[in-house]
Amino acid sequence: METTDIKVLDKVVVRFSGDSGDGMQLAGNIFTNVSAGVGNQVSTFPDYPAEIRAPQGSLSGVSGFQVSVGMNVHTPGDKCDVLIAMNPAALKQNVKFLKPGGVIIVDIDSFKEADLKKALFETNEPFKELGINAQVVEVPVTSMTKAALADKGLDNKSVLKCRNIFALGLVCWLFDRPLEAAIRHLQSKFAKKPAIFEANREVLQAGYNYGHNIHASVSTYRIETENPQKGVYTDINGNTATAWGLIMASERSGRPLFLGSYPITPATDILHELAKRKDLGVTAVQMEDEIAGVCSAIGASFAGDLAVTSTSGPGLALKGEGIGLAVIAELPLVVIDVMRGGPSTGMPTKTEQTDLMQALYGRNGESPLCVLAATTPTNCFDMAFEAARIAIEHMTPVILLTDAFIGNGSSAWRVPEASEYPEIHPRFVPESLREGWKPYKRDEKSLARYWALPGTEGLMHRVGGLEKDSDTGAISTDPVNHEKMVALRREKVARIADNIPLQEVLGDENADTLLLGWGGTYGHLRTAANELNAAGIPMAFTQLAYINPLPRNMAEIMSRYKRVIVAELNTGMCADYLQAQFPTTHIDRINKVQGQPFQVSEVVEKVREILGK
């Protein structure tokens, strides 16, 4: 008997692809969780179409799920080592993501003439037609699945629905993943359908056995692990992390959490998660539109809740006037924008960083507010917490920018203790100021006004969208007062810089060049910087999470480097924003607006181009 060739790798990238009804996201998710469970770092990228069910087998209906597992994993990987394609359309759409020397696993039962036609192949030789010279493992997934379930009494449709789990079983064998863990995940997924769970367990084992039996024809992999910090871990995507970060802020501030929202891709999972969290006392309401989402939150904020609204770019546009009200009424409000491709409806399921200007300036009048951006799926937890902390302690709306990539992407995450996060101190009217208190009296240091909650005796007051006298809080159209209030609101936001961490520079700090990104591109840019340094091109790297105000040391950082390369998934919004504030810094730009995250290789290549190296 031949022995299986075992490759030892520090990380591998697997891409599951199939029809959007084939359950590729589920297979990918279980593989991710199982890998995280054996101690791998994981990073995922679900790439799914906007159509819920495009015609079966068509190119537009292909759904993909890419995951990188192993050590030093910061991204889901540019390209994959193993591509699973459940039909010809999936193969055609995804072969471009395969690394040279990678392996393709196809369900050969789905490569009949009719299937090839649906995927617009012109010949009966799909591999030749696509110019594939990689190793292709042709697996009869459909017939093996049917055979495994022959005596289970399931209807044909239910049988076919298990094909994804056969593929999962095969991949588990390939990467030496423990089946018990995968079975546990199936059990919780199909807890209410024991017959379906049984079928899937059977098929999982069949897929694993199939791999074992053909093991001579393909190499298997051993993935290295590193020892992470001790503790309890769970797999978490960015949207869930955002929801949980808000709950943590509610615990640390003592203010009940309120979410007023409206369904919008790719932000809706935040609403879903918080709607479930009635078990923690969260009030999450689905309002009649985006405007009512933000307005109900403003009402809840006035009444004393930690109030949040969640949306994506088009929804942020609709909420603009409401956010302006929170600016002038100086109420705490957290606005989450999970960015997607625009303008207008744009590309709802794809990722972009094109809402930065909208977040900073997309309101009438002088209406400054705090803008934050989360850098990774797990960092969404920390930045959602920060957004709430800053909103409450500085009495201001805060916009937190995340994006489809980190919102849907997931990583392993150590479950923190509440005590790892600071207490948040709501700015209630101090006893000493209650005599003669007026609604726009401010804390001298932060310039924040105080939060006088309805229901409190003696603090009745009115706030609203009209300009107010800086002293009495009464309506005022006095020109000098207005200019004073504009300056006060701006300075209040600027002083948030006293209450946020300094910007950290990674990589080779003494390099001449700084690679700078913001938000969800962290993983790709950090990996690119590492690769550049490894290739002998000294590179400092920093990723902005606090965008307005910028950390106190940004001016020093921007003056330290000969050139700053700002890389972002838009046509240069952050570069423009920084150039306006640091006019003497030489800024180069790397931009991409394709609805897709950066690839590490393209960033490395463009940096080399800019530097002529």
Partner: protein, 337 residues
Amino acid sequence: MEELIYTPANFKSDQSVRWCPGCGDHAILNSLHKAMAAVGVAPHQTAVISGIGCSSRLPYYMNTYGMHTIHGRAAAIATGVKLANPELTVWQVSGDGDGLAIGGNHFIHAIRRNIDINMMIFNNKIYGLTKGQYSPTSDRGTVSKSSPYGTVEDPFIPAELVFGARGNFFARSIDVELETTREVMIAAARHKGTSVVEILQNCVIFSNGVHSRITDKEVRADRTIHLRHGEKMLYGKDMNKGLVRDGFYIKAVELGKDGYTIDDVLVHDAKLPSNFLHQQLAMMDGETLPLAVGVIRDVDSITYNDAVSQQIEEVRAKKGFNSLREMILAGDTWTVE
């Protein structure tokens, strides 16, 4: 007589009222101060939320918690206030433009959910603060600055929207009838759920006399009927006219004429679960049938805020967690030693 804990003065702020002299809003404000005193909820337990427009200035004249917000959004903001603190008595003040045009969506959905707020719609059939454009309640043909040749669209009848949105409380008054306004405001405050009060209000500048064919002293008794729960539907200067059933419809008769007696006259039942008759009463327009004022519908049903908090309590009783960490640890996790 009931002993009042609060007087109207307790609800007045120190701001000088800036509506035009003769504006109907003065009378409504006055009635509201009195109604709040009669309801007896403390000023600090009261929140008044408005949108934008002349009527929406009202919160500044109240010594309560208040928000003067943005155009059309008062219902959505009031919903958030009530959900965050259900102990508060929440009033919303809007005009016909604010509430039914730009805010129309929030208006119907607040009513559909039955959030426990008291919505006052000051209906003067015109945009006053922007200086005289037609509104969604302006009659077809209304000449205004934005309709110099007359409007070519039909108006909303606020009551019809309320019933279309499955409203459980609708009342109507006229600005000059201070006592009726006070009476319906008190009923609105006592009703659990969304209470809509339409107040026919006169804008002396841009739509002066828009309601006068019904509200003028000389004709009012014959063109309006004050409905009171449990009482006969009688009206007229001499209270000799009444409403009777006419097949599926209602008709107005004179007692003693055509053989009609007091026994034929309908008794108003504001508590009827079916809104069929309430709708007919609310749609009477002062032409062949008198315009109805008073509480037309007042039916109890679970409020949105109660339903929201009850559901949270039920879920927590069944599988509540004390902390985020506890909730996460109950899910899929693994331990790194």
